[in-house]
Symmetry: C2
């Protein structure tokens, strides 16, 4: 963890930015896999980690915005737990980590919350995404699990987003460690893949590379069916001529997340058509990164990437017509029905547990309803200290092509005969993690090869 | 999965063994890791898997004990889900897997359960260990999350234990696959370990070995501090002279669990004292396995292992006095404060999500309150078709030795001066998975070396 002063400072800034009442934080509890004693690897709530630094289950915390008091709630280990589990941190240790002025047994939390509610004080809390904590909230406040989202404090959410969206130098250093380890996951796959290799084995070995250090930040996507953007399985055997999308992240010891995508040729060489598509994505990504600077709206960066993509597809004869108009009407979304990127930090979709629109949109910058652009997770102006993924792509989604081509939708921009020629060429995505600096941008981590030639050189030729 | 007839047959037997009302089954839902869209790898509830065979999230099922009707509830994939996730099984596919006569949209479940309750019919359900399903139960029945355990149907629990505790030949075949893959995890570590190697790396590589095939059945224990039986971290660096306890399990494609423990010398050779302790555990394990047969109470097998252990410790001068009396009074529990084993099947602690005592005890065979033996998870008579872990051990638990030696507890059996000499020699456990046959027992899987000489031969000498 960071020094306790870091967490004190974060809480101090939170207090200054909020009005009054109590702020109630839930740390995550253990998450049972198949019965109460067999649990998933523990993952702490990112907000709890950010403000309190405690990385073990079963904590809660209160900030009294009126008195300024900060209290951490937990349990001292029992004699039995120490006998069987070895020396374990107690409440005093937890207090030392977070620097709260008070540490109390968790059983005391209930009375304090109920007392505040009886006094008519506002109790701020965040949306709860885990069943266990929705139940805990219900026990403390009477708010039913189904209502925990809508009764969450928007004041608290907005205050947290304003803090967490700007990364300090220490946080950026953690993110770079995560990116560098993520690169190792990519290099592992580059070395391993060849025709006949299974997605399952490739995924297991890439994940193992991260586990040897500190772990992964999200379940790896590794697929020859990259046109299915939400595909989670690893059921295919790689064939000569396939391209593989690997979208993966390692995390740092402090749980900052990496998120990198590379598109790799199974045989070690892209075909000419694959390379042409690949180079469009690369060009779009480089142009987008180049455009990033404080004050620039990310939705404009997204549009720029779309424009570069359309122009590239026009060169291949897949699209035609006025490129700007094509983007304005969303014609690119047949091939890229996704957003350019999202914030990254303690979460891989940083802060989206608070609600996606609170993170990426503002009172004046509203989410588009246009197909494709409606999936843009972040649209608002960039600020120095934000870290974004930049991940344009090209996807030949079978169901989508069938739907649009059946309607000849936007055929003033799309050459459906050419789409037919390319439609078996799967999916392409290139993603890096980019810090917005005072003057522009910096791609985090040691450079991970991304030109087609570099990628081919690192992939096993077979 | 098995053929749908297997699941039909299981449900048919369940129906025959129960009285009346509805039986409500919840499949597991996705388990959010850090926000709703980033989820842990899906693990299905074992009872749902056993009776319905469906291995994806969000299903439920009803059996009407009076009419015999069986209905599966789920959701057809949306157009959007198919576009982004690729072809996905729908309700008709789910119905084909489980062989239920009806498949309905999940939204219909609520009305049917409420109707039955309004009619005063009994609704049987199981204890719920996941927050999401406790909330689901509350929404359907009004039963609060805190009460879901005590309001669960003991009739249903007992009926399920009676079925699941006897493994069919097909289930045994799955368990053997799991054991054989678990052996690969052990062999991996045997090849890898040496002084200076980290527990973390060893654990990651052993787990990767299982992930390459089908996955693990529980989080691996791999530690040089084997005297802490509940230790979960992998924070130590292995030193020359250390022994490592590796307690791990792979699972088969159908999620049957392996659970194997070996104790390995980091330098490739046990010291004489380590070997003496190791051989006591081995002798206890072999004697226990040899004693297994239908009709034999497992608590008696446990006692036999304790007796062999005491006699071995007497030979080393660590214990003295009458061995049978020492076991009767629980003196062995200073060195082995645990039970001999547990059932294994679709769960690694098979069926313990239903309540440990329902699995291992009966109306007449009650749990002991004696320290050590109170942790025996299974005591009742063995039956042909049961599969048990057999895992005696020797542990020098620092806090426990301090406690007992301070009181000179049971010093008529324990030579505390000799305990002092051995107390830094960590922990030893040897575990195999054993099927009870009509005539005796069969250790599952290809033999995994376990004599000290065999283990030394396979471990890297350094």
């Amino acid at each position: 963890m960071f020094a306790s002063e870091v967490y004190q400072e974060r809480r101090s800034r939170l207090k200054k930015s909020m009005s009054n009442g109590l702020v109630l934080f839930f740390g995550n509890q253990e998450s049972p896999m198949s019965y109460p004693d067999t649990v998933y690897p523990f993952v702490q709530d990112a907000n709890f980690l950010y403000f309190w630094g405690l990385d073990s289950p079963g904590f809660a915390a209160l900030i009294d915005l009126d008195s300024g008091a900060e209290t951490i709630f937990g349990k001292n280990p029992t004699v039995e737990q120490i006998l069987w589990g070895g020396p374990q941190p107690d409440l005093a240790d937890a207090q030392a980590v977070c620097g709260a002025e008070k540490a109390l047994d968790r059983d005391k939390l209930d009375g304090l919350v109920k007392q505040a509610m009886d006094q008519g004080r506002k109790v701020h809390f965040l949306p709860q995404y885990r069943g266990e904590n929705r139940i805990w909230l219900q026990e403390l406040t009477g708010i039913s699990p189904g209502q925990s989202g809508q009764k969450a404090s928007t004041e608290l959410i907005r205050a947290i987003v304003a803090l967490r969206e700007i990364k300090t130098a220490d946080e950026v250093a953690e993110l770079e460690k995560a990116v560098d380890l993520t690169a190792q996951m990519v290099f592992q796959t580059m070395r391993d893949i060849k025709p006949g290799y299974t997605e399952k084995e490739a995924a297991a070995r890439a994940v193992c590379t991260a586990q040897l250090e500190s772990g992964t930040s999200f379940p790896i996507i590794l697929t020859t069916q990259g046109y299915y953007m939400h595909i989670r399985g690893h059921e295919n055997v790689m064939r000569a001529g396939d391209v593989v999308i690997q979208d993966c992240g390692a995390e740092s010891q402090l749980h900052y997340a990496g998120d990198i995508t590379r598109t790799l040729p199974v045989s070690g060489r892209f075909s000419e058509a694959q390379k042409a598509l690949y180079n469009i994505v690369l060009k779009a990504q480089l142009a987008a990164i180049e455009a990033m600077a404080p004050g620039v709206e990310f939705r404009k960066v997204h549009k720029l990437a779309a424009l570069v993509t359309v122009k590239g597809l026009q060169e291949l004869g897949i699209m035609h017509g006025d490129a700007e108009e094509a983007v304005a009407l969303g014609a690119h979304a047949l091939f890229w029905p996704a957003g350019l990127g999202h914030m990254i930090g303690l979460g891989v979709h940083d802060m989206e547990e608070l609600g996606e629109d609170y993170v990426g949109y503002t009172g004046t910058i509203k989410r588009s309803i246009q197909f494709g652009t409606d999936r843009l997770r972040m649209a608002k102006p960039l600020k120095s200290g934000m870290v974004m993924t930049v991940e344009p792509g090209l996807y030949f989604v079978p169901g989508l092509i069938k739907l649009w081509s059946g309607e000849r939708r936007l055929s003033q921009f799309i050459n459906y005969d050419m789409v037919d020629k390319y439609k078996d060429l799967a999916g392409y995505r290139i993603e890096d993690d980019v810090l917005v600096t005072d003057t522009g941008y910096r791609v985090l981590g040691k450079p991970i090869p991304k030109t087609a030639a570099q990628v081919e050189e690192l992939c096993h030729e077979s």
